[in-house]
């Protein structure tokens, strides 16, 4: 749960995506560790982390909807 810089060399023209919403990650990203599974996720900012938990909660209460 911290900000990180996206270190890219100037001639690297590829881009990275938020693991939660799919939007672009530019210059920096927010990371958090998934509570189940323990995977590290890269996302836009804290709001995407909250979104992640929220979607999980919805999924648990109404699976497959």
């Amino acid at each position: 749960m911290a900000w990180h810089d996206l270190d890219k060399s100037w001639h690297d023209t590829t881009v990275d995506y938020c693991d939660v919403c799919g939007n672009l990650l530019i210059a920096r990203y927010w990371s958090f560790v998934e509570p189940v599974g323990g995977e590290t996720r890269r996302c836009c900012d804290e709001s995407c982390e909250r979104l992640f938990h929220r979607l999980r909660r919805i999924e648990e209460s109404a699976p497959g909807s």
Partner: protein, 617 residues
Amino acid sequence: MTGTPPPMAGIDRVGLTLLYKRVRNICDEMAFAMMRTAYSPIFSEGLDFSTLVLDRRGRLIATAGINPAMLGASLYAATWIIREVGPENFADGDVFVHNDPYRGGSHLPEHMMVAPIYHDGELAAFVGNIAHLAEIGGMAPGSFAATATDIFQEGLRIPPTKLFDRGEPVRDIWRIMLANHRTPDNSWGDLHAMLGSLRVGERRVGGLIAERGIEGLNEAFEQILDYAEAYMRSEIAGLPDGIYTGEDCMEDDGVSDRSYWIRSRIIIEGDELIFDYSRSDEQAIGPINAPYVVTLSASLNGLLYVLARDVPVNAGIVRPIKVVAPAGTITCVRLPGPCVGGQTEFQPRIMELVLGQILSQILPERAAAASGNTSLNFLFGGTDPRNGEYYAHYHFEGMGWGGRATSDGNSAQIVPHANCRNTPVEIFETKWPWVHEEYRLNDDTGGAGRNRGGLGVRRVMEVAGDVITVSALSERMKRSPWGLFGGRDGSRTALEVAPAGSETYETFQEAFGLVSPSKFANIRLRRGDRVRITSPSGGGYGDPLERDPAKVLADVELGFVSRASAESVYGVVIAGGSATGDSGQDGSGSGDGAAGDAAVDEAATAELRRVMRDGVA
């Protein structure tokens, strides 16, 4: 909570209204400058562009109401450019250009320009615009390569790049761009129209800064964003909480016969809303994928269509909204996926999914059945025999819109996620070597319903040059525009060709052995060949048996609906007159019951409708 949001402390509401109107006016002025000076008819006649005023972080403060399809790019692209370049690397007089769909662009033809505005050496704000250039290279003239399998075939991709450096043109960049476009003179003119529009914006925003100072202006900008956020929250709070789902598909991707499904769910909780597309199919091989901003545009546009019409469109409106479109799905394309059709075909599909299928569950009176829902892109290029010059054009077609709660769908309207105009036949034929045989409404095709779907159009034109290379990128050839609440489906798109001297039309697919009927590239047509473009009609709204018989009669009299359909679909029996109805494919366009002696046979109609409803004779 519904209605008015609570008063915001410490805000001068009147002052805010006044400032916002002024910023909007600046965008309008920028738009006028662009329209009057552009070269490509798609942005001078078609108005396929947007103008933007942004704060010093690149957040959208206001935009001119021209093309809603560019909303997503308007909201994000400038922010991304500024972050990637770094605010410290801008200087007074710089202009950046960018068309990268992986960096906030919608598709390659749409170029964005942004220019920083400085005041006493300090960065104060940005102005920007986005415009669709008609030709930017790639594998097919008109840069709509319907059979592209990666973005490198779609044209020249430009990450954020300095076009002007402290007021001086960066000539190498200009030369690279122009060398890669098939009609560089056109691009030169259009790029200047964009620059001219930025200059208008710079002057006027400069005036605002002089009046209010950098801090004062940015504080006010902040309040404008807060206001838009409060507005959206208030509107969303008025919708019932819940999870709503819908799905629709792209028929094929131009390179294979497979269809791709978009699965959407909308989660409404209090004053926040989530669009979740994570269950959609993986990205396609062909160019129907959407970049993230296109999916975002479509979602917001669908929502804005059914919510209040006068919400200020700026970066504040997305705060209560999240769009989940995981990278690698058709809703968020990854390198090197092609995506030129995402903007024109995928976007309207999602937008109508949101406003027609999903929101109709909670706001039936504000929803509409499906429109023809394709931009029907038809591209062509060649050498004009009249002057020996190379030309390329990006053509689109109007279609029928879906029926609505209180009225029939409009006929011959641009696809709802855009707001472009057609090119008049007289301008068309003066500029390009085609001769039109007809351009008319396509009778008896509107999806039946209590409120009927609007009619599509039919255009027949003959090649008047030696060779014209054509391409197409369209949809709605395999699946019809859907009706709503018992309304019938509308009719489909058709792209057909008749070789010189023949009266027999066949589809492009049959004639040239294509994979897709709706998406193809680089077909060479010769002098005398004729093309017939038929655009889809809209779906109907409500049960056709509930349609006012007087309206059915009027439709028959005007030839919009045949007498046969009046009976078989609407259950309306018309007596007397000579209303022949079936004007069909070669109809004269005028119904024939004009003498006023045709009338609805009330008794027979009531009986027929009863039978059709209950199934008992």
